[in-house]
């Protein structure tokens, strides 16, 4: 039985389709392992009994033509799930039960998967360590003192610890790729407009994108083809031809041109990150790819730009949490007093910080200097990528400037925390797809990831290159199940 949770998604699908395993067996295995793993704090809300029931029902009348037949799955608690509490990691939504389902999760259930529960995350996806969650921090299965990354920290922890065979996260500035990198797993942030934002608690609308997180590239490709659909309910959803990514997956990347942007050699980058990058370049060459030096001149401005645009949108997106209609309400003397108390008590410090930054940069007198300027720089950053893609097919960079840090290490230093997103943020600003794959370990034995950035709508190419490199890298995650007593 213990074998089951070690299987990849693709193996589980094959075994269920081949009737070697039932959905109930698989679901039970993951539920049991999840129950034994409470110490990781990966879940906010568990729905195990329902999951087991659904698995039983699936087995009674199994539809084996589906892509995720009877596969149990926990998802980030930013996706609204019908009749199951959805908190966004915040006190302000502590008691919120949606009457509706996000498009992305609906797509998953339509392919036969079964919801096991909702995974922890930074409050409203604002954070890089999962430490801003109202429901407590999450431990990295690599080491109990390490953060799992963020904001999709519950998701990365759950996949790495094999509490769920696969999961989905959301990525606004790196929230899928950075935690994937910190936990030795694979995370894909699709092109903006690829996955519907309908029913996902919004952080920064022009940057938010849902994506798959998995043990390997193939699983990631399979889940991506399930979740990526055109959706009329999201005006920014784009109607382009989507591949069956897993079927078209190939390791033949001979002649692919891979760009290496010199601006990503940032000051103070640890040598082991530099070495990892070099190693990555060698792997890519081994696969037959061609390496080309490129320049993304405005890279330096990406982080400040992001920390204007994202808080600006967030300050407005989070205005709806006012205690009037749903969620947490603190009683007050009058309307204004109720607002102030509700929002002061309902939001955590990081969310309040970003609301204040966002409100400031949109204020009259500051708008032009901050928000408008940031929008212009954002365009320049996008133009950098457009120029680069005239010469190369994909771009290879490290995923993060360091391996996972210690719990509590950066909580009092927001800027140092923000710097974690330095390699991932430009991708969101340009709306491009990016994937992080585990590529090695640092001296402490913590995983490190490489990021492959693609052209818009070219998920297939980055998946292929990741798939080819994955084989060469042959990464093995070092997880000892220390939390299971």
């Amino acid at each position: 039985m213990s074998d089951i949770t070690k299987q990849s998604l693709s193996e589980l699908v094959e075994n269920i389709k081949g009737k070697k395993l039932s959905s109930s067996e698989v679901t039970k295995a993951f539920v049991e392992r999840s129950e034994k793993s409470k110490e990781l704090n990966a879940y906010i809300t568990e729905d195990y009994a329902n999951a087991l029931n659904k698995a039983k029902k699936f087995d009674e009348k199994p539809n084996l033509d589906l892509k995720l037949p009877g596969i149990p799955m926990a998802v980030k608690d930013l996706f609204c799930t019908k009749d199951l509490r959805t908190t966004a990691g915040s006190k302000i939504l502590n008691n919120f039960v949606p009457t509706y389902e996000s498009t992305v999760t609906q797509n998953i259930w339509n392919e036969g998967a079964i919801l096991m529960g909702k995974l922890n995350c930074d409050e409203f996806a604002m954070g890089s360590s999962n430490e801003t969650s109202f429901f407590g921090n999450v431990q990295n299965p690599i080491d109990k003192n390490l953060v799992p990354g963020g904001s999709s920290g519950g998701s990365s922890s759950a996949v790495a610890a094999q509490l769920t065979p696969i999961t989905i996260g959301t990525d606004t500035g790196g929230s899928i790729r950075q935690p994937a990198s910190f936990t030795g797993t694979v995370g894909l942030k699709p092109t903006y407009g690829s996955c519907s934002r309908y029913g996902i608690v919004a952080f920064a609308s022009s940057l938010d994108q849902a994506g798959p997180m998995a043990q390997n590239v193939k699983d990631c490709a399979l889940l991506q083809e399930v979740i990526s659909t055109y959706d009329e309910k999201d005006s920014t959803s784009i109607d382009f031809k989507r591949n069956e990514y897993s079927k078209k997956l190939t390791k033949d990347i001979k002649g692919k041109k891979i760009g290496i942007p010199k601006e990503y050699r940032v000051d103070g980058m640890p040598k082991e990150i530099e070495d990892l990058w070099k190693k990555g370049i060698e792997y890519a060459k081994d696969c037959g790819a061609e390496i080309i030096d490129i320049s993304l001149p405005h890279t330096n401005y990406a982080l400040p730009t992001y920390y204007i645009v994202a808080p600006a949108e967030a300050s407005s997106n989070l205005a709806r949490y006012d205690g009037v209609k749903y969620g947490f309400r603190a009683e007050g003397e009058n309307l204004i007093d109720m607002y102030e108390k509700t929002r002061s008590e309902g939001f955590g410090a990081e969310v309040q910080r970003r609301i204040m930054i966002g409100t400031y940069v949109l204020s009259s007198g500051y708008y032009d200097a901050y928000y408008l300027k940031a929008q212009k720089v954002r365009k320049l950053i996008k133009n950098d990528f457009d120029e680069a893609y005239k010469k190369v097919d994909v771009i290879l960079t490290p995923s993060t400037p360091s391996s996972a840090f210690k719990i509590g290490e950066k909580t009092n230093d927001p800027v140092s925390m923000y710097l974690n997103d330095i390699f991932t943020v430009p991708v969101n600003l340009a709306g491009l797809p990016g994937i992080s794959i585990p590529a090695g370990h640092d001296a402490k034995g913590y995983p490190l990831g490489l990021q492959i950035i693609g052209k818009a709508f070219d998920e297939q190419n980055i998946l292929n290159i990741a798939y080819a490199m994955e084989e060469k890298i042959n990464f093995k995650n070092n997880i000892t199940d220390w939390w299971i007593k």
Binding site: A88, F96, Y100, R197, A202, S235, S315, L335, Y367
Partner: protein, 487 residues
């Protein structure tokens, strides 16, 4: 454009002040569903029965633009002879209020869907052109109800997300009368287009009124005050008068006017300060990242142009040229689409001149008395047309027609039948009339003699007698002719 007699000025001591007015009209788009959701927009529904998850701003809900509302706004722009912007942007206007579920209103700030246009007003002393600055689309907020409970406020979100057009005029209006004419004209154009029903009682049309004053002849604008959310023309006029006089008094008193937002108290008939410029909200407008810029093609606009009906100005021109109506008559008949439709239906088969007189005269008076709209007229256009034809062909006299008309007002009856049933047909048989006239002359020999000896005024007496004897049915023209001969 002359403006002499009707110039509206405020006199204080030796100074004359001109009033400068600009209007921001909020017109509810005629549409079965809301601007960014599929909820219904019916007026008067039970509270919170027309609210979707989008309207109530649930987490993860996203706005999707209603194409029909976009078409309505563009049509209105065409009706205002305005520039249609092929690319416009929806912005968020951020503020907190209990009836604003999103915490922001989706509106258009820098790039509205419609740019500059104009509206022509027919004033007693000539035409006046009022510039339109812009028209943009925005969401309405919900409704806060404060008087149902001593401690709590209730919120009705039925209106939340309903599409509004904000139509901003240039500061071209100079008097309460011009404001009256402007609102009516705007309303008329939108009703012709079917883009706003203009129902002020139901709040489909309301306005923020910007008022400033300046000494006559001055080129500089004075400091303006904005009077928020006035929902009837009468109140707008009263508010302007009060506000203009208040401002003049301040200036005459050596004080300055604070730029501020004011409210019109309809009970006390005065405006009072709501918030000063310093307290003004910082709305933190920025483009709504949930919505892409709205782009429309030339074809899209051209198609809408082809759907535009004849509008009041053009109709007026046609009525004057084709039917030889006076500008006064044409103005009245085109002022709203239902009246002009009624008129055109009546004249399909009957005399224009008579129809004009009967509609503007008898019909309007009768409807007024019963407080009815033309659409509720008991007399259909077809039957009025028949009545007019009965007059025209001499079947009944104008006087009898009035009797018939009165009966028609009681219920839409065919005038022909009324005439037949009541025997009201005009006597036009010369022989019958001669007999009648002979008898009258015979009965009044002495007066006939007086007439013949030069007392020609008595002719009217004889006509009256003949009409009386005939029960009003004698054809007056024939009576005249025969009487002249006989006397």
């Amino acid at each position: 454009m002359s403006k002499s007699k009707s110039e509206y000025l405020i006199n204080r001591h030796d100074n004359q002040y001109e009033v400068v007015i600009g209007l921001e009209v909020h017109a509810q788009v005629t549409s079965v569903s809301k601007l960014f959701s599929t909820s219904a927009t019916k007026f008067g529904a039970e509270p919170n029965t027309q609210v979707s998850l989008v309207d109530a701003a649930f987490p993860g809900m996203l706005p999707v633009i209603n194409e029909y509302c976009v078409k309505q706004a563009i049509k209105t722009g065409i009706g205002l002879k305005a520039k249609i912007n092929k690319r416009s942007v929806f912005d968020r206007k951020n503020y907190f209020y209990a009836d604003l579920p999103q915490g922001y209103q989706i509106s258009q700030f820098k790039d509205p869907i419609v740019g500059e246009g104009k509206v022509i007003l027919d004033m007693p002393d000539g035409q006046k052109e009022v510039g339109i600055e812009r028209l943009h689309l925005e969401q309405d907020a919900g409704k806060s109800i404060h008087d149902l409970d001593p401690k709590n406020t209730f919120v009705d979100l039925n209106r939340s997300g309903v599409a509004l057009m904000e139509i901003v005029s240039k500061p071209d209006l100079r008097s309460p009368d011009e404001v009256n004419a402007y609102i009516k004209k705007l309303r008329s154009i939108m009703r012709y287009l079917g883009t706003c029903d203009g129902n002020m009682q139901e709040g489909s049309l309301r306005a923020d009124v910007n008022v400033s004053v300046r000494k006559k002849g001055s080129k500089e604008f004075g400091t303006r005050c904005e009077i928020k959310n006035v929902n009837s023309i009468k109140f707008m006029q009263m508010a302007i008068e009060y506000e203009a006089n208040r401002q003049v008094d301040l200036i005459e008193d050596g004080q300055t006017i604070d730029q501020e937002t004011r409210l019109f108290d309809t009970k006390k008939n005065e405006t009072r300060s709501m918030r000063s410029k310093e307290d003004a909200h910082d709305y933190r407008y920025f483009p709504d990242p949930d919505l892409l810029p709205l782009e429309v093609s030339d074809d899209f606009i051209e198609n809408l142009k082809s759907e535009i009906p004849e509008l009041p100005d053009e109709k007026k021109k046609r009525f004057i040229e084709k039917f030889k109506l006076s500008p006064y008559e044409a103005n009245i008949l085109v002022s709203d689409i239902e009246t002009s439709n009624y008129f055109e239906n009546v004249i399909k088969k009957s005399d224009v001149k008579l129809a004009t007189n009967w509609i503007i005269g008898e019909l309007f008076a009768a409807l007024n008395e019963k407080n009815l709209e033309i659409t509720e007229s008991p007399i259909s256009a077809g039957n009025l047309s028949k009545l007019i034809n009965l007059i025209k062909d001499g079947t009944i006299s104008g006087k009898i027609a009035k009797t018939v008309f009165e009966q028609m007002m009681e219920g839409d009856k065919d005038p022909q039948k009324i005439v037949e049933e009541k025997g009201l047909k005009q006597e036009s048989d010369p022989k019958a009339l001669e007999a009648l006239i002979d008898k009258v002359i015979d009965d009044n020999r002495d007066k006939a003699t007086e007439y013949k000896s030069g007392k020609v005024k008595l002719f009217g007496f004889f006509v009256g007698q003949v009409m009386k004897v005939s029960g009003g049915k004698a054809n007056p023209q024939l009576v005249n002719e025969i009487l002249k001969k006989k006397l």
